[in-house]
Subunit: 229 residues, 2 copies
DNA sequence: CGACCATTTGATATGGATCAAGCGATGTGG
DNA sequence: CCACATCGCTTGATCCATATCAAATGGTCG
C-alpha cells in the first residue's frame, strides 16, 4: 500500500455499520462471509489508497464510501477510470504494479486482502481461479463500455453517467452523488462547465431535478434512455 | 461461429506459409505447438469471423493476416475495439456472447479452438487457468490504454497509433498498414479527413514519409514520442 | 458575518467535424 | 492500349460542439 496512505488512513476496528455491502455485482467469494483473510481499513476523504506504479500487493473491496481510480496524464489532465461503490472489488491486477491510482472520494471503509493469499487460494481452488478471471473480465467489460462512452457527445455521456449511477446505487429515481463535478468531468472526458451546463439543460428539459448539486432526481428516464441508446 | 462466416470463409488445409505467428505477446499455451485442439480456418478480406451478441463458442488466434473487432452504435457510427496481428489471441470472453464483432481486414488464416475445451483444460491445469486470466488482463490493459488515447487530441492519437503499429509489427521504421483510413479513424475516434490531414502534417514536419498511403516510414520518432508522452 | 470552495452562468475561441471537390491508383470494357 | 468508371485518399472551406476564460452565485465552516 502507498506510503502516503499510512499518513491519512486510520487502521482501526472493522466498522459497525456496513449496511449495503452485499451487492451481487463484482464480488469475490474470497471477500465473502469468512473475511478472516483481510483487514478493514478506514480511509479519509481524498486520501490515497494506492498510487499508480506501486506494487499491487493487495486487493480491495469497498464496504462503505466511494472510491475513484485515476491516471494523471503528462499534461496534467486527469482521467478517472472508475467509481467503486460498496460491494465493488478494485485493485485486482495481474501485473505486479497498479496501472491506476486509487483514492477515497468520501470517508470509506475498505476490506483489504493480500493478493498473494488470493492467488494461492486460486491455485488450490479452481472455483476461486474462475472468479478471479470473472472479476477481471467484468472490469474489462466496464472499461469497454467506458471507452464507448468517450466517443459520444456531451449529453449522451452525462445521460449515461446518470443512468449508470442510478442503476448502481439502486435508489429508485434519486441519486446522492458522492463525487464532485470535477470527478464526473474527468470520468466523462469533459470539463466541469460542460457537465454543469448539460445538467442544467436536462433540468430545463424536465428530465431531472437538481434540489442540491449533489442530489439528482431522475424525472424522465425515457429522455435519458433515448440519449443512452 | 457466425452463419455469415460459413459463406465467406474457406475451411481448407492449414497454411503452408504462416511465417510470423510466434510472437511472445498475447499467446496462450493452449495455442502452442500441439495445436491438435483447434482447426485453421481461412477468412477472406472483409468477411465476418463472428458477430456481436453471437455465442462465444470459440477462441481465436491470428496465424496470418489482420483482424479488427468493432461495435456499431445506434447512430451508425462504428468504433473499432482493436486490431489483431499474427500471434494475437482474440474472442476470449467470459460471458456467453461476444461483445464486439470481428472481421478479417485482409485475407487471414485463423486458428480456432473450442472455448469449452480451453475452459475444461483450465479446470484441470491451473497453469492454463492462470494464462486464461492473464490473457483477459492483457486485454484489459490494452483497453485501458485505448481509453486513455480517446481523451487526447488528434495529433497525439495518430502518433500513438503509428508508434503502436510500428512496435507491434516490429518492422524497424517502416510500417505496411493492412487497414484503411476509415479503420484507423474508427479506432481513434476521429474522421478519415482528420487522420489524413494529421498524417500529411507529420510528413510536412518530416516526422514520417508516406511513399504510398498504406506504407509509412517513421523518420523522426522523437517527434512522435513527444506527442505520445 | 466573512472567507472559501464548489458550482453555475456567460462570452469567446478553437479543434475537429462536416460538406464538397479534386486526385491518383486500379480495374474494366470497348 | 486507352478512355472511363470506381474507390480510397487528400485537400479545401465552413460550421459547430465543447473548451477556455471570466465572473457571479451559493453553500459551508470558522
Amino acid at each position: 500500500m502507498a506510503n502516503k496512505t499510512q499518513t491519512t488512513a486510520h487502521a482501526t476496528q472493522p466498522p459497525v455499520d456496513n449496511g449495503n455491502c452485499d451487492l451481487p455485482r463484482n464480488t469475490l467469494s474470497l471477500f465473502g462471509t469468512d473475511s478472516h483473510m483481510g483487514a478493514t481499513i478506514y480511509f479519509d476523504q481524498n486520501s490515497e489508497i494506492y498510487g499508480e506504479n506501486e506494487p499491487a500487493d493487495y486487493v480491495y473491496k469497498v464496504l462503505s464510501g466511494t472510491v475513484r481510480t485515476y491516471k494523471v496524464l503528462n499534461d496534467g489532465r486527469r482521467q478517472v477510470g472508475a467509481f467503486y461503490l460498496p460491494g465493488d472489488v478494485f485493485g485486482l491486477e495481474i501485473g505486479d504494479e497498479h496501472t491506476f491510482s486509487a483514492e477515497a472520494i468520501t470517508d470509506s471503509s475498505i476490506l483489504v486482502v493480500k493478493r498473494s493469499a488470493v492467488i494461492a487460494q486460486a491455485a488450490r481452488d479452481n472455483g476461486v481461479a474462475r472468479e478471479l478471471w470473472a472479476a477481471t473480465a467484468r472490469e474489462l467489460r466496464r472499461t469497454q463500455d467506458h471507452l464507448l462512452l468517450l466517443i459520444k457527445n456531451a449529453q449522451e455521456r452525462v445521460a449515461a453517467f446518470l443512468l449508470e449511477m442510478a442503476d448502481r446505487s439502486q435508489a429508485g429515481g434519486a441519486i446522492e452523488l458522492p463525487m464532485s463535478r470535477q470527478d464526473i468531468a474527468d470520468y466523462l472526458g469533459l470539463t466541469i462547465e460542460t457537465v454543469s451546463r448539460t445538467l442544467t439543460h436536462f433540468e430545463t428539459a424536465a428530465a431531472i431535478e437538481l434540489p442540491r448539486s449533489r442530489r439528482i432526481v431522475l424525472r424522465n428516464r425515457s429522455v435519458l434512455n433515448k440519449l443512452n441508446a
